[in-house]
Symmetry: C2
Subunit: 384 residues, 2 copies
Amino acid sequence: MISRFYICRMKKAGILGGGQLGRMLLQVAANYPVETYVMENDENCPAAHLCDHFVKGDITRFDDVYQFGKGLDAITIEIESVNEEALCKLEQEGVKVYPSPAALKIIKNKIVQKQFYKDNEIPTSDFVITQNLLELQLQQNFLPAVHKVGMGGYDGRGVQIIRTREDMEKGFDAPSVLEKMVNIKKEIAVIVAVNDKRETAVYPSVDMLFDQRLNLLEYQISPADLPEKVLWKVEAVAMKVVKNLNSAGIFAVELFVDINDNVFVNETAPRVHNSGHHTIEANYCSQFDMLWRVMLGYPLGSTAHILPAAIVNLVGAEGFSGPAHYEGLPEILQLENIFVHIYGKKETRPGRKMGHITIISKEKQELIHQANRIKQTVRVVCRQ
Amino acid sequence: MISRFYICRMKKAGILGGGQLGRMLLQVAANYPVETYVMENDENCPAAHLCDHFVKGDITRFDDVYQFGKGLDAITIEIESVNEEALCKLEQEGVKVYPSPAALKIIKNKIVQKQFYKDNEIPTSDFVITQNLLELQLQQNFLPAVHKVGMGGYDGRGVQIIRTREDMEKGFDAPSVLEKMVNIKKEIAVIVAVNDKRETAVYPSVDMLFDQRLNLLEYQISPADLPEKVLWKVEAVAMKVVKNLNSAGIFAVELFVDINDNVFVNETAPRVHNSGHHTIEANYCSQFDMLWRVMLGYPLGSTAHILPAAIVNLVGAEGFSGPAHYEGLPEILQLENIFVHIYGKKETRPGRKMGHITIISKEKQELIHQANRIKQTVRVVCRQ
């Protein structure tokens, strides 16, 4: 009878990190029978007030993560920089961990991640590993290239473009990977869900357009505009990444398509991802819904889109640090086909992700038109 | 400068009641810059863990409601049985109240509500008021009719069908309204949003199909299948109700269409409503999103549907009272075009609203097919 009770009681699921990804996960969690837990070191974080149990703690500390996860059925992350040793121990003790600690370990260090692509014959740009700035200096012949710090990069931090010898001083004096620059035609993201049975569900590819300066997404359009042959290649490469990671969870694979239609993996995130936010409104099963299905042992949902979509990220405007104000929001809320998501961060900072706006329409021109209109209208500034 | 600060700070908004309507309101609130408050007498209610501030209190007590509402910018309800005197005082002191206490007062007593329709020449079935069972006995010539208790009816309670003299003993020995039975061809619901400027937005009409025994919705389809001429009449009548209530907020007007295509108002709810749950996925701006727009002073959203929808309510199965278990849920989650909403109530009871499932499809036959499939598959029972 005990095992039967176990089957039927409400599952307990935890999220390490309480930012916007946790927030959006929790908005969907309320659709399912699940008891939710969040750990973050800030009780005013975006996700803190939307869970059943908020635990203040340091997600990078073994003890904090282990204590948090010990009584849970399932645990996931919304940021890679968590204590993976604790997750390993939890996994050994029967807690289901999404992604698996082994996959997380590969992804969280960009040197290891890059080596993983190479070892598994997954197409990725050439690279060399540099332990410090001195070693970087020796790689003049490898330029132009992108220097990525092994550990701790996030949201455009920890990445430097090194075109010339002079740029080298911007590089990292720490273990890093120097990646040969690809002659990029397009940047694409593909989100793949994997359940415990290793069944997979692939979302339509997304076209990503970047702000080169901040290395932040400017806007994205789904489905991506790619010739069928390239699309197949993109999906095949993304699937190969995910299969070789050998882990359940949600994975966002970012890829480059070069001018010769070659496909290279750039990076993979082992979690819900900014490139999938449009799935909330535009697809039958959103990436957040999908992760709950995986964690709760439900069937995978449909990744098909209901309508094509675009997303504009709302990032903190330059020159403003402090209590956030969303200039132009009422004006944009007059548009018929848009969906606003403000993340509830108390303070804005230049380049900080403060929200996003999704546009859905069957007309691609309409998506682009509205995206530009939103970019020109909405600004995250400080209260005056 | 103080007034400027006032304009820009995050608004505080409260909900009286912490059931599924509050829960779904709070899922959407996380998309907007708003600080949320909920009052309910049960800290395990469906909405308690999804707000910034949960206050345990009795929504029918003046002091509790007044203290709760005093510091807020806006307040709304998810059930009619709240203390409206406290809402009146809050309104006088500058808190925005949705619906207005005056409108709430009309609606909350079914006798007053019925009289309101008559006074404003809004088509509704004939009626007589009965103060007790003795007065009911005098109305044999008025049968068949429906007896509705003035105060405190909810979810099918407080309503009795009186076809014959023998049925009269099932009537209410309290102030009630006896409504002449309409020869119903269809039951329709129309949701209308009204903002502070008295601008309105009307959602497409919904076809409602009832379980006669429990008087609970069986399933509903949107948009309703009505000849254009009848549709116009339905919308015109719903608008007349809302205009005469003279209040901002969200209103669900339930109507009968009789066999001669005459339209009668049945009842109005001054809040988000079960008949609008499909708008979460099927319409650009859901009823929950719309109420936040009204409360936060944003423009009204689009009520247009993205795709037609059906809803099946998940109510507690007969014979089960206790910890809820959702039989058949994994099977239904395999369907491509469905969206599950479980309300997180700890205990099921026969007829209790425990969740709903939305189906979206451009094919009406597909909506009906899936609705029936869901009804045959999902059962809310107890854990074994």
